[in-house]
């Protein structure tokens, strides 16, 4: 892939993502509270926590999709408005109508709309980039398919391909592993590792505690506040998990301990 020409050349700041004192409040309660987070370049980070812990909120607030009450988020030292061209986003699969009359390749090319800017239409070059991304997620044969004819996993991979064409440096993915088949899970993991190998940074909202240690090298435990954040080996501990999920996670202790030591 060609290097992204929009990326800033500040080698001084190698922190891919810095969140400072981020607070988001919906109606009566804070959804996330005073979140501080620093992420080096080239890591795969999982955000885990119970339902309603603000995992998706954290991502959306970072991308300014919902208003922040306080705090700053910087990508390679830049605020989101300036970093947009190298920040990629994979929303939850359920957030769109999959009966929409459009084809897989069309959806993937949507990832390039932002770079095209107002009025300009995608052309041959965009299509080639889209096909390249589809090959990466093993969906090249499906390019002309209508999106409702895809299985859940294939839909997820389509979204992933759409993020890949953005050729971002920092990716945010909202539950990409939710309800997908084994093949898709494998494909996503392969792509995550490929991204890491290329020096990209990926933040993933994740549900499955059993696979955290296997898939990721960095983890943030979130329950409105950050409980702990850091490399999996030191952060993904039974103590931290208990603190995140409240008292009753006895079965987790063994699993997490096993994973934490086994990796």
């Amino acid at each position: 892939m060609p290097d992204n020409e929009h990326s800033p050349h500040d080698d001084m700041d190698k922190k891919a993502l810095v969140i400072d004192d981020l607070t988001v409040a919906y109606d009566s309660k804070p959804a996330i509270w005073d979140v501080d987070l620093e992420l080096p370049e080239g890591v795969l980070m999982a955000i885990v926590g119970p339902n309603g812990a603000g995992k998706s909120t954290l991502i959306k607030a970072a991308l300014k999709l919902i208003p922040r009450s306080a705090g700053t988020v910087r990508f390679y030292g830049l605020p989101y408005e300036k970093a947009r061209s190298f920040v990629g986003y994979v929303p939850q699969r359920g957030s769109v109508d999959w009966d929409f009359p459009t084809t897989v390749i069309d959806v993937v090319m949507m990832g390039l709309y932002g770079r095209l800017g107002w009025f300009r239409r995608p052309g041959r070059r965009e299509r080639e980039l889209g096909m390249y991304a589809l090959e990466q997620v093993e969906l090249a044969d499906f390019a002309g398919r209508q999106i409702s004819q895809l299985s859940g996993g294939q839909q997820q991979r389509t979204f992933l391909a759409r993020a890949l064409v953005q050729d971002a440096r920092v990716y945010f993915m909202d539950e990409p592993f939710a309800a997908v088949d084994a093949v898709t899970e494998r494909a996503i993991v392969a792509i995550l590792r490929e991204l890491r190998a290329r020096g990209k940074t990926v933040v993933v909202v994740h549900h499955d505690l059993q696979t955290v240690a296997e898939y990721f090298d960095w983890v943030t435990l979130l329950n409105v506040e950050i409980v702990a954040s850091g490399p999996v080996a030191t952060t993904f501990t039974p103590d931290n998990l208990r603190q995140t999920y409240g008292g009753r996670v006895s079965f987790l202790q063994d699993g997490a301990a096993a994973l934490a030591t086994g990796d």
Partner: protein, 503 residues
């Protein structure tokens, strides 16, 4: 129907005199308000369930398609009886109810094909049925009285004009036969017309014809001077009886099936599992909705009637969380809207005369508007109900705009305080303390303006939650206690309740 009215009137007369009833009902205002209230109550009861089921616009669809039911029933009766049926015939009402159910069935059939979304299916079905009705009317009912305008618009102010008269005293109905002494007998030519001859011509045949024979109701008999004492008559608008019956039916339906309706609204799957047949209940609901719509046609017309179904429940939904209260409140809101709506039509907004307003507008802009405000009563009632909705939207204690704004502002202040104190708590006593807690640069951490930060710090300091020390801001013991408490209540509870949702 007539008999029912009589029973009710007799019951009523235990309490009031016939003159009082007459003079009360003769006032169009009273009749209009009674009728409007009946529609408002039944509309509110049914509309609440429609709203909660996400079917608010189904009432809109039904109010249009019942026209097809009426037209088809009309044409069938015309063919069977050979003459135009009465518009208040129960067969027409039955046809209307059938059309209401047909709308729902057609919509569901389209939806169930899997090719059309629910809302689109509704948007296809009802224009089609309405279009068919309009075409049928244009083709077949040309010369027969089926006034589409009346169905579409209606006028509640005229309801009193269409009354039954009930006789209470001196109810002497008179029957005059040819041999009665009061009979007026005229000798007339019986074949002049057919033969085209004059009575004087040859061949003209004559017979004695009674010109005033027949049965006279007491009122008619008094007017014709056939009886000596004036009967006591009571005029009773027909719509009131029809709507009262429909309202009773509605109340009965909702009362009888309250539990089932509630369950199938909130959890159709559970209702089905418990054997309550939610589909059947849904059709029954549609039948009752159709009946109310038809009953309300004369008074408010088929477009405005949906206001009575949707707006009061929507307002009530902003005021309460409990279904029973919602039913009650929406009925009250509808009735209050009806009451003040009549005045609005006559130029008074609540207690404000509108003539002065119009005069002022005229003087300011020279518009030459009429200062006599006189407008559609039913539409004014709807506007008044809408006004009540606006009031609920803005001022509802829990969900209103104002209380939300006030609460948000308070929360923002509260959060701002907590964010700053939390930040200090985090860094106080740590190595980075001298970087993170400098008063003059603290606002950078939050991306706030220096002024906002100054305001927050001033507030915290004046309540002794923070102290300033060597250019740094630090928590006081009270401040620390406050942070602890916040963590336990606001944040901790969230985590606890969520722990149950573990995979």
């Amino acid at each position: 129907m007539f008999q029912l009215e009589q029973w009710f009137i007799q019951f009523l007369l235990y309490f009031v005199s016939p003159e009082a009833v007459n003079s009360f009902l003769r006032d169009p205002r009273h009749t209009a308000i009674i009728i409007g209230t009946l529609i408002a109550v039944s509309g509110a009861l049914l509309g609440s369930f429609l709203l909660l089921r996400g079917m608010a616009l189904t009432s809109d669809a039904i109010s249009h398609t019942v026209l097809l039911g009426i037209v088809v029933a009309f044409l069938v009766l015309l063919a069977v009886q050979g003459q135009a049926p009465d518009l208040s015939s129960p067969w027409l009402i039955l046809g209307a109810a059938a059309a209401g159910v047909a709308t729902v069935i057609l919509t569901e059939a389209l939806h169930r094909s899997g090719l059309v979304k629910q809302d689109a299916a509704l948007g296809l079905a009802f224009p089609l049925l309405f279009a068919l009705a309009v075409i049928l009317i244009a083709r077949k009912v040309e010369n027969v009285h089926l006034d589409v305008d009346a169905v579409m618009m209606g006028e509640i102010g005229l309801a009193w004009a269409n009354s039954n008269s009930h006789c209470l005293e001196n109810c002497e109905s008179v029957s005059i036969t040819p041999d009665d002494p009061r009979a007026q007998i005229n000798r007339q030519c019986t074949n002049c017309r057919t033969l085209g001859i004059s009575p004087r011509d040859e061949g003209a045949q004559f017979a004695d014809i009674c010109t005033n024979c027949g049965v006279y109701s007491p009122g008619q008999a008094w007017q014709a001077g056939l009886i000596a004492t004036q009967p006591v008559l009571l005029f009773w608008p027909k719509s009131i009886t029809v709507l009262a019956l429909i309202t009773l039916l509605t109340i009965g339906f909702v009362g009888l099936f309250y539990k089932e309706l509630k369950l199938s609204t909130f959890d159709p799957a559970l209702a089905a599992a418990l054997g309550f047949r939610p589909a059947l209940l849904n059709y029954a609901l549609m039948v009752v909705v159709s009946l109310v719509v038809v009953g309300a046609f004369d008074a408010v017309g088929s477009i405005l009637v949906i206001a009575f179904f949707i707006i009061p429940p929507a307002a009530a939904y902003l005021l309460t969380d409990r279904l029973s209260w919602m039913l009650l409140l929406s009925a009250v809101i509808g009735a209050v809207g009806v009451y003040f709506g009549y005045d609005l039509a006559r130029g008074r907004f609540l207690w404000l005369e509108m003539g002065g307003l119009l005069a002022g507008l005229n003087r300011l802009f020279g518009l030459g508007l009429s200062e006599q405000w006189n407008s559609s009563i039913s539409a004014s009632m709807v506007l008044m109900i809408f006004f009540l909705f606006l009031v609920a939207w803005v001022f509802s204690p829990r969900y209103g705009l104002v209380s939300t704004l006030v609460r948000r502002a308070a929360q923002r202040r509260h959060f701002a305080d907590q964010v700053v104190m939390g930040h200090i708590y985090h860094h106080q006593g740590q190595v980075a303390e001298h970087e993170e807690l400098i008063i003059l640069t603290l606002h950078h951490h939050f991306r706030w303006s220096p002024r906002k930060m100054a305001r927050v710090l001033a507030r915290l300091r004046s309540s002794y939650l923070v102290r300033f020390e060597k250019g740094l801001v630090l928590l006081t013991p009270q401040g620390e206690a406050r942070v602890h408490r916040f963590r336990q209540t606001q944040l901790g509870r969230n985590g606890q309740s969520m722990a149950q949702n573990l995979p």
